[in-house]
């Protein structure tokens, strides 16, 4: 059994994350398009922004911080 690299819950379907952090990652990736259209941010700038603003949900923030620290999660294609 593998565990979420962020919170230690059981990992979801072979991913590195539990179902909550996996869902947060999905939400974060799918929202990028709208951010890009609205303010022409690069992926890195977008991640940095999410880390800074108060409204970001806790699980989304966890995932954004992990991406920022450079663990290999990359821009969605």
């Amino acid at each position: 059994m593998s565990f979420c690299t962020i919170c230690g819950r059981v990992a979801w379907n072979k991913s590195d994350f539990c179902r909550y952090h996996k869902e947060a990652l999905d939400g974060l990736q799918s929202s990028y398009e709208l951010w890009r259209k609205a303010s022409e941010l690069s992926w890195d700038e977008y991640i940095e922004k999410l880390c800074q603003i108060d409204e970001t949900g806790r699980w989304v923030l966890d995932v954004a911080e992990q991406i920022r620290s450079g663990d290999g999660l990359s821009t969605p294609t």
Partner: protein
């Protein structure tokens, strides 16, 4: 002469009822070994007014063993089940003795499901009397006149459907609460050997589920950006803020173009429009609207509002507060109530206005309640000095009542349309043309009045400065006690009598962290386990079904025995299923509990005594937190460490490379850092502290530079 026993719900109610019923208004309180009763004369009758203490009897399992399933119960004195309930023993004994030579029994408890059940159980198990021949007094306020009237016109029979509905609710709550809590607790015990009560119940399950769902929405929230336009101008030496006609601009590019097109340009007043609206008074209070208004204005938790309202009711200055009704019946003597209020200094001038206006037909709401009217003042003077809290709530109730007779409030909404080419900006004003009922409701009304500056059509303005500002969409807000209570009411979960307690218990059991109802790791572990293995317990269907069955009992469409036997059958099936999965349930709860204890309280083994556990402790004197050893209370170890006073702490699975002490993480706002519990003394932290300080300095300088850009 006949001896009549009047059974009341509480000591204060007994005192008032005895006072109202005694011919000379001087009932005698007879004290006997830790309990008392009131002796009164009424006509040729001798009245013995006794009191319960809420419930005197509780359910107990008839077959021994702390295990499940346990399906059979009987009613026993409360002190046999709850060790703390020692006060009930002398009361039950006294009632038993007095009941021996009584001719007529009268139940005078609150007229609702719980009150009816309390009266019935006291009659049956303390008085050993036949409930079929007992009589019932019905009232909604404890004023002398209403009590006397209720006694002189009492009903010849008890309200058996109400009693059965109450009994069945207690029985089913007991069955579900006891058996499911044992499933969870024993799963933990059999897995890890720990005995930690992990509870759930019929209403608590769905409540936890609503909180968890909201928590997930908040935690998964990805904010989106939008921009707003801020425009200012100066008119008659006064700075005026204008509102851009489109509240949200979707892209940065569009926002910048608008600013470019408007900044420094001239705009003119195209038109000034006005519209008037009339607003009726709010309907009379029921318990839930009173609770939510008291939370809004005074910050009272719903359970507190109920307790304070209960004490105002027992002082006979307001009507019975546990009501759903928003209606005042025509039989209510409004003139008499107003007369009473008119004698109170704070309200006399308002009452005069109401009487002079001559409209004594109050506004009514939609909801009704078969047993009680909406909450209203009785007009009686308080018999004691009210506490500041009581005063506040009483004032809110009186003013709400007076406002019901007021005329509609009339508001004038003004809007000036200001144009530059195709761009439109607004300037708004709100004037209250007639205060009407708002005058009575006074401090509890929202007015938002705003004068429109002195401008006319054709006036021109220089728009400067015009700016855009980036904003973000907001996550849904977490529950507060009042919004959670409202949700339970809307979903028809629990009753007006039990909801506030359920809301409190979710927090006191450690499932949520603060008044914002943020789910704790324990709450998560419980929710996740229930979701996986007992989803039915989280679903509101189960409890809604019971509320419907209770309602059917009240309407005499079904009966207690049938409802109970169906519920037992369903529960047995659930329990058999759980038994098979006990190991899995235990594992998940144990992992969750470990995480909870780890994150909330404990910071590893004590380095001094090597026996106790280091815990975060709050000083009762200073309120400051520090780390102490769990052996401290046993006077075995005095190890302590200071802690940073701000931020959430969680232990890390590592020790300090410099001093070997336990490391932990601090999260304060957006900042997050790691240190050891020995941080103030640790040789390796001195450089770190310096570096941290420098970083902090840099951070405060940076935004200034950015501002200059």
């Amino acid at each position: 002469m006949s001896r009549v026993m009047v059974i009341t719900e509480k000591p204060t109610a007994a005192k008032r009822i005895a006072h109202a019923l005694d011919d000379n208004k001087t009932p005698m309180e007879v004290k006997k070994r830790g309990a008392s009763y009131y002796d009164c004369k009424r006509g040729t009758d001798e009245l013995i007014v006794v009191y319960a203490l809420g419930h005197l009897f509780e359910l107990k399992q008839t077959v021994k063993g702390w295990t499940y399933p346990r399906m059979e119960t009987s009613w026993v004195p409360k002190y046999e089940v709850e060790k703390k309930a020692t006060q009930t023993k002398p009361i039950i004994n006294l009632i038993k003795r007095l009941a021996k030579d009584v001719d007529t029994f009268v139940v005078a408890t609150d007229h609702d499901i719980e009150g009816s059940l309390i009266g019935y159980l006291t009659l049956k198990y303390a008085c050993k009397a036949d409930p079929m021949v007992a009589r019932r007094m019905l009232f909604s306020t404890l004023t002398d006149s209403e009590i006397q009237n209720a006694f002189d016109n009492m009903s010849g029979t008890l309200d058996f459907p109400m009693i059965e509905a109450g009994q069945v609710r207690h029985e089913i709550d007991w069955l579900y609460g006891i058996n499911l809590t044992r499933v969870l607790t024993l799963a933990v015990k059999n897995t890890a050997g720990w005995f930690k009560i992990v509870s759930t119940g019929r209403v608590q399950g769905p409540t936890l589920s609503y909180i968890a769902e909201r928590e997930q929405e908040v935690n998964l929230f990805v904010p989106y950006p939008f921009w707003i336009i801020q425009a200012k101008t100066v008119h008659n030496d006064m700075e005026i803020e204008l509102e851009y006609s489109k509240k949200r601009i979707d892209t940065k590019n569009d926002a910048e173009n608008i600013v470019k097109d408007l900044d420094g340009k001239t705009a003119h007043v195209d038109s000034i429009n006005s519209r008037t609206t009339a607003q009726q008074p709010h309907p009379p209070f029921n318990l839930s609207t009173l609770q939510s208004e008291a939370y809004r204005h005074f910050g009272f938790k719903p359970s507190r509002t109920l307790a304070v309202a209960q004490s105002l009711y027992l002082d006979a200055i307001i009507s019975y507060p546990r009501t759903s009704s928003e209606k005042l019946p025509q039989t209510l003597d409004l003139k008499e109530i107003l007369k009473g209020l008119g004698k109170m200094k704070n309200y006399s001038s308002m009452v005069k206005q109401v009487v002079q206006a001559g409209n004594l037909i109050p506004v009514q709401g939609k909801k009704s309640d078969p047993a009680h009217p909406a909450i209203h003042p009785t007009g009686s003077k308080p018999t004691k000095q009210l506490t500041p809290t009581e005063k506040k709530l009483y004032d809110l109730i009186v003013r709400r009542f007076l406002s019901l007779f007021g005329e509609s409030a009339v508001k004038e909404h003004l809007r000036a349309d200001i144009k530059h080419e195709d761009y439109l900006l607004y300037l708004r004003g709100l004037r209250i043309l007639k205060h009407g009922w708002m005058e009575f409701y006074g401090p509890y009304t929202k007015t938002n009045e705003k004068e429109l500056p002195d401008i006319s059509e054709g006036d021109s303005f220089l728009l400067s400065p015009v700016n855009d500002e980036e904003r973000y969409t907001q996550p849904p807000s977490r529950f507060n006690p009042s919004s959670l209570l409202k949700l339970l009411e809307r979903e028809n979960l629990g009753t007006k009598a039990t909801r506030a307690r359920i809301v409190d218990s979710i927090k006191s059991r450690g499932y949520t962290l603060n008044d914002k109802f943020e789910l704790s790791t324990l709450g998560y572990a419980l929710f996740e386990t229930l979701e996986k293995y007992m989803p039915d317990i989280l679903s509101p269907e189960l409890t809604r079904h019971l509320e419907k069955e209770m309602n059917d009992i009240l309407q005499e469409r079904t009966n207690r025995v049938d409802v109970l036997s169906r519920a037992k059958g369903d529960l047995l099936e659930l329990l058999e299923n759980f038994k098979l999965q006990e190991g899995k349930i235990g594992n998940e709860l144990v992992t969750g509990l470990q995480r909870y204890w780890k994150s909330k309280e404990e910071l590893g083994e004590c380095p001094k005594c090597r026996e106790g556990t280091l815990r975060v402790i709050r000083s009762s004197k200073t309120g400051k937190r520090f780390v102490g050893c769990s052996n401290y209370s046993k006077s075995k170890c005095d190890q302590t460490f200071p802690l940073p006073q701000k931020g959430d702490l969680s232990p890390l699975d590592m020790t300090c490379p410099h001093c070997g002490y336990q490391m932990f993480q601090v999260v304060s706002g957006r900042r997050k850092w790691e240190t050891c519990i020995n941080w103030t003394e640790c040789p390796g932290r001195k450089d770190e502290l310096k570096a941290l300080e420098e970083q902090r300095k840099k951070r405060t300088e940076k935004p200034q530079k950015e501002n200059k850009k």
